[in-house]
Amino acid sequence: MRRALLVARSEFLKYITRRGFIISLLMFPVWVVIGGVVPHWIESKTPTRNFTVVDKTGGHFAFAIAKAVQDDDEIAERDALSSYAQANLDMDRLREKMPQLAAILDAPSEDPETLAQFRKFGGATGILSLTAPLRKTRVEFQPPRPRFHFTPPDALQAADEGAFANAVNESLSGPHALYAVVFIPKGFSDAKSGPEAEFWSINASDPELEHFVRRALTEELRRRVLAKFAPDVPPETFKPTAAMRAFDPAASGGNHEISLADQARTYAPAVLAFLLLLTIFMNAGALLSGVIEEKSSRIVEVMLSCVTPVEFMTGKLLGAAAASLLTLTLWTLMLLIGAGLFLPGALSNMGGLVMSILSTGLLPMLLLCFICGLLIYASIFLAIGSMATSIQDAQALVGPTMILVMAPLIMMPALLRDPNGAIATVLSWIPIYTPFFMMFRLPWNPPLLEVIGATILMIATTILLVIQMGRIFARHVLTAERPPRLGALLRGTFRR
């Protein structure tokens, strides 16, 4: 074992001093930042889209759309103010001193009652001046850029039917071009046989405004139908919102309401399962090229004159596993440090989440699954490396293996819908996938017998695969022949 640990130490140092390791390590947080920041950045940089509505019905629909644009601006402003407040205001004191204002900032998006309160307090400007004493930072509130701007139709409204297409074309081109023109024909209504509204635009790839207008018109039609059947009821009372909270008997809070920590506990294992595949993908190349280099420079002969093939392979596996665990730890630390530096308000939440994940009883089982998964997949790649005499040979074998290893990713959506269903159960019993699927399913409390059975299967598979792949490794690592055929390989593997 001493020799295996020496090999493991050397392999570990070899991995973590590779340029590729450092790059991969940095790529993940960069990828997270890109994934989290870029969509917001793109949205913030998207120019406000100017459009107009030519309403031949008398202007009611144009007015409804203009009102929807105004609501949309206010919703976006309230949402932005809410995010700003969570990070920059002393929310605990605000809840204590000004509960009405705190309720506005704590409420979910698009709640009509909240929006009414937001207007009542003077929008963002009014609320900011009221809450100024509770500011924790010097960060200024930046109101969001409006998504849409309603422009009066002017000349287009007067254009007759024959010249309308040309007039629209002119409006949609030039330096002050409109993004879109909406045409509401005379007689437009909810009647199936009536004329249809038209959306004119040369930006067919961006359907956001079209969907927005369609929703606003539908809303107006619905309001008219309701007004017809209940004329005495104010229209805003017909926009009720169902208040609902999520509960789970297994949730951590005293009232069983599902908190952010509960959600983190549910999804963290899935993230860990995904990271397992990611680290395997990262390490496969290094494992393969390492063995091929050792073969081609005859280092492997020197190594095997010092240690047994089993010690050599065990050391390599332990080294790769240690490098993967280090990767995982460093990624977590980087995310925490990044959050601490750039999102100070989020750090305490993230710290709480990490602590809640660490405190869960699932952690040892998750780590066991992670390590078994790593050892299973790494031993497969080491055996492939031992059979190959060049990177080209290795790539021919790695392609199909990678497809097999990555297959669980395709199953993720089905599993999320029904984590303890028939598909998930069957997949958990396929030995090379057991670690992945068990990690995924553990938070959904699969039957205890299944957990015990799958754990035994997983450990047995790991031991068996490491031994059998070690056998392949020992048999092929000293040969310079081309990789054997599959049949010969299987016969060789299971022959004593």
Partner: protein
Amino acid sequence: MPDTALELSHVTKRFGDFTAVRDLSFAHAGGRILGFLGPNGAGKTTTLRMMLGLMKPDEGALRILGQNPGTVRDRIGYLPEERGLYKRMRADAVIAYFAQLKGLDRATAYARAHDMLERFGLAQFARVRIEGLSKGMAQKVAFIATLAHDPDVLILDEPFSGLDPLNRQSFEGAIRTLAREGKTILFSTHTMEQAERLCDHLIILARGEKVFDGTLAEAHRLLPRRARIGAEADLGFLRNLAGVLSVSPPAQQQPYWDIALKEGADGAALLAACFEQRVALSHFDLSEPSLQDVFVSLAGREAEHVQEAAQ
């Protein structure tokens, strides 16, 4: 250390239908240098791998220091032809790593590495990565890595390949010193001059079979001594002398008469006979057959067998 350090008894190794080593037997005493010679594909590497315990023979038995190769791993040092070093490791680290794998503790391994680097004149390169060293320096580091754990048996596969004459000389000196210290050394080589200079014992393999096993003197006796005489006159009369095996006239690329002598024959008799016949000589050269001649003769005979078999 047992008297017999290396012992192979009827060892055969096959790869599918191909027999790489066939019924190989020999014994080599401890504290001596064994030259393992043979053309490419003769089975040298396969035999070395079996001695290192990397492969098991299909038939026969190997004993290293009186035991199975796998159990005396720590008492063997192995230097492969292509140096076998991790390019990105530093010189002292790679030596210490292999020494630790052979049983030394970390502190001793590093101390030994620095001490030996100093002795081989590489102290200032201790913290340089292998990829930053010249070929000769890297070969020295590999040699030190083979020795650092103070093994009883050294197996060196083509240790001199790629070395300049100065480095080759210093390696030869180191190998002789080790032998004087009582180490058993086996080295495979294609360079016959080195084998002649260094080895007490020679094994020549061809097509997986042993074709010679003995000392250098015994190898020399396998071929007749030859005299090369430069003369315009016909020297055919020398055939009548006692001890002369054959007389060949000059031919293309061979400007002298070539006279083969029986073992123990007196070369001076040739000179006396020429003077007696008043033959004017321009050249006289009487020499032992070189190991190169013996090797070519033995390995060439095997090559002829191969050709015959193919026909």
